[in-house]
Amino acid sequence: MSRLEECFKELKAANKKALVPFVTAGDPNGAFTLTCMHEMVKAGASIIELGVPFSDPMADGPVIQKASERALEAGMTLKGVIDIVRFFRETDQSTPVILMGYLNPIEFMGYETFVEKAAQAGVDGVLTVDIPPEESVDLLKAYDKHDIAPIFLLSPTSNEIRIKKIAAVAKGYIYYVSLKGVTGAGHLQLDDVQAKLTQIKQHTNIPVAIGFGVKNADIAANIAKIGDGVVVGSALINCITEHSDDEQQGRQAISTMLSEMRAAMDMATQ
C-alpha cells in the first residue's frame, strides 16, 4: 500500500480528515522549508504539498506568486525541491509529500528523469497545474512506472464529462478547487462545494481534498465535514510574510494555525 493510501486509511479509521498544508519550497530558503515540513507534521499535517516555484505561476494569486518569486530569488529549482524531499525522508518515512507546480521545469528536466529522481527521493504524488489528462499520456506512463500518484484538479466548472475523465486517471487523491479563481481568492460557498462533492463521489472512490479559500480553523472545520481532506496554502504563506524578519516566528505561526485547524477539524468529525 502506498504512503498516500496508508495515510487516508489511518485517518478514516480514526474518523479524521487529512490536513494538507501547502508551502512554496525555498520560500524564503530551503532550510526553512525542511524544518517547517517537520514542524507542520508535529502540528497535525497529514500530507504536505510542496510548491515548486515557477517564473510564471498563471493559476496562483498574489500571495503564492510572491512566494514563488522569493524562492526563485533564493535560488530554488525543481532539483532543489526534490533534494528537500530527500532530506525530509531521512527522518520521516510516513508523511506523504506531493509536489505542486507547473509543467515547464518538468519538460526541461525530462519526464523520465524527473519522475525517477522524485520517486527515489520519496515524493508520493505530483500535481502539475497546467497539464490536463488529455496532454498527460507520456507523463502518466512515467508516473505509473515509478509508483507516483498523478494528482489532478477538479473545479466548480468541471462538468460530468471532465469529472469522469479525471476520475479515470487520478490516483492518491483529487484536489477540488472550491472557488472560481486563483489561489487565495474570495469566499467559498459550502452548499455549492457539498453539491459538487456529491457529484464527484459518484464517479470515484479515491479521496477528495478541498482547497482554495481555506483561511482559518472555522472554514477548515466546515470543509472537513464535506471532503476527505483540507488544503491550506495562501493563509500559511501569509504567516511567512508577516514574520519576514524572524523565520522562527514565521514557522511558529504556521504551526499554530495548523494546530488550530487540526483541532477544529477533529472536533467537527468526531
Binding site: 510564471d56 493559476a59 519538460e107 497539464i131 490536463p132 473545479s155
Partner: protein, 410 residues
C-alpha cells in the same frame, strides 16, 4: 516528428493543422488548469460553430471592409528596391488598417464571437499597446466593458497607447508581477479570466495561448495572406518568390504565411528580434536561440534557463518582446517550411529610417525588423524576383522611442 524529407514534403502538401486537439506536430495543445477547461471548451464550440455560419462571416467581412478599411493595398516599394539593389520589394500595407496595425483583424473577429457567446466583458493583454488599442476599439464599438492588462514597465514605455485605450473607455490595469512585461500581462489576464469566466471573454492578441487560440487567431489573420495572394497575382502575374514578416508571437506572420504554405516555390522567412545580439542573450528570438517547452497554454519554442524558468527578453520593439512564439511557427521551423532569422535593434532602427526616408512610410519598429531582413535578402536575389513584406503596423507609436534613442526630447 517527421524524420525524412519525404514526410516533410507530405506534411506541407496536405497541410491541415492543427489536429482536433490543437496540435501542430508536437507543438500547441491545451496546457491549462482544470479551472479553465470549461471556458475553453465553450470557446472551442462557439468558434467551430460561427466559423461555419454565413451570417457571422458576412458580418465579419462587412466590418473588415467598412470599419477596418480592407482590403489593405500592396505597394511596390520601388525606391527602396532600387536603393537596396536586387529583388523587388513589395509591402502588404497592414499599417493602413484602422488603429494602425494588423491586430484589429483578430480583435474584430473575436469580439463578434464574444458578442455571439453572450459575454459582456472583454479582457486582453498587451505589450506595446497595439493589441490593447485594437481591443479597446472594438469593445467601444460593440458596447462591451473592456479591461486591458499591461506590464507596469510597458505602461511607462508606451504612454500614448495607454492614453488611447483610456480614451476608448478601457480600464488599463498595470501588472507589477514578474518582469512586468507582456508575459506577465498574459498571466494576469488568465487569472482574471479564470475568476470571471461567466461573463468574460479573453481576446488573446497573438497566435499563442491554449487551443483554439493559435488556430482561431490565425484564421482571423489569414485575411492578410488571402488578399496578398490575389493581389500579387493581379499585380505581377505570379506569386512572390519570398515572404518576410516579423515574429513576436507571430500573428501577422502566420496571417501572411498560411495561405502560401502549399506553394513550394514561395520561400518563407520569419524575422525574430535579436535585440542587442543573439550572442548577448538579450534578445527575443526563441525560434533562433530557444528550445521547446510549455508556456501560456501551449508547447512551443521558448526562452528559459536550464531549470525551465522563463527568462527576460529584450527588443527595441515592445511588440516583439515575448519569450515564446506561436506553436505553428515552431512546427513550420521543424519541418523546414519556414526559415526563422533574426534582426538586431540597430538593423531594425536603420530600416525604420530608410523606409521613412525613401518611401515616406514610417513603419512600426516591429515591422522594421521585417523590412531590414527583406533588404538583406533582396541583395542576394535577382532584379526580376519579388519579395513580399508584411508591413504589420505603422510607426507613429514608436516616434517617442526612436527620438529618445537619438537623444531628442519630444
Amino acid at each position: 516528428m517527421p524524420t525524412s524529407k519525404q514526410t516533410k514534403q507530405s506534411a506541407v502538401k496536405n497541410y491541415d493543422l492543427p489536429d482536433e486537439n490543437g496540435h501542430f506536430g508536437p507543438y500547441g495543445g491545451l496546457f491549462v488548469a482544470e479551472t479553465l477547461m470549461e471556458s475553453i471548451e465553450e470557446l472551442n464550440a462557439a468558434y467551430a460553430k460561427y466559423m461555419q455560419d454565413p451570417v457571422f462571416l458576412a458580418e465579419l467581412d462587412a466590418d473588415l471592409q467598412d470599419y477596418v478599411g480592407r482590403p489593405s493595398p500592396i505597394y511596390h516599394a520601388q525606391r527602396l528596391s532600387r536603393e537596396t539593389g536586387g529583388a523587388q520589394i513589395y509591402l502588404k500595407r497592414e499599417d493602413l488598417n484602422h488603429t494602425g496595425a494588423h491586430k484589429i483583424n483578430n480583435t474584430i473577429g473575436q469580439a463578434l464571437l464574444a458578442k455571439r457567446m453572450g459575454k459582456t466583458r472583454i479582457i486582453a493583454e498587451t505589450g506595446a499597446g497595439q493589441h490593447g488599442v485594437a481591443t479597446a476599439t472594438v469593445a467601444a464599438r460593440l458596447g462591451l466593458e473592456c479591461v486591458v492588462y499591461m506590464g507596469a514597465e510597458d505602461i511607462q514605455r508606451q504612454s500614448p497607447n495607454v492614453y488611447r485605450m483610456r480614451l476608448l473607455g478601457a480600464t488599463v490595469v498595470p501588472v507589477t508581477s514578474g518582469s512586468q512585461t507582456l508575459k506577465d500581462a498574459l498571466n494576469e489576464a488568465l487569472r482574471d479570466w479564470v475568476t470571471n469566466i461567466d461573463d468574460t471573454y479573453y481576446i488573446i492578441g497573438t497566435v499563442a495561448g491554449p487551443h483554439p487560440y493559435p488556430a482561431m487567431v490565425r484564421d482571423f489573420q489569414t485575411i492578410i495572406g488571402r488578399e496578398a495572394r490575389e493581389q500579387m497575382l493581379a499585380k505581377t502575374g505570379a506569386l512572390p518568390d519570398a515572404l518576410v514578416a516579423c515574429v513576436g508571437g507571430g500573428s501577422n506572420a502566420i496571417g501572411l504565411f498560411h495561405p502560401f504554405i502549399g506553394d513550394d516555390d514561395v520561400a518563407i522567412y520569419g524575422v525574430e528580434a535579436a535585440g542587442l545580439g543573439i550572442e548577448t542573450g538579450k534578445h527575443s528570438a526563441p525560434l533562433c536561440a530557444g528550445q521547446p517547452g510549455v508556456l501560456h497554454g501551449n508547447r512551443t519554442y521558448l526562452m528559459a534557463d536550464e531549470n525551465g524558468e522563463i527568462i527576460e527578453t529584450h527588443s527595441i520593439s515592445a511588440g516583439l518582446d515575448y519569450p515564446a512564439v506561436g506553436p505553428e511557427h515552431s512546427w513550420l521551423k521543424d519541418i523546414g517550411r519556414a526559415e526563422y532569422v533574426n534582426i538586431n535593434d540597430d538593423e531594425a532602427l536603420e530600416a525604420f529610417h530608410q523606409l521613412t526616408r525613401v518611401e515616406g512610410i514610417i513603419p512600426a519598429l516591429e515591422s522594421s525588423h521585417a523590412v531590414a531582413y527583406a533588404t538583406k535578402l533582396a541583395k542576394t536575389m535577382d532584379k526580376e524576383q519579388v519579395i513580399l513584406v508584411c508591413l504589420s503596423g505603422r510607426g507613429d507609436k514608436d516616434i517617442f522611442t526612436v527620438a529618445k534613442i537619438e537623444g531628442i526630447e519630444l
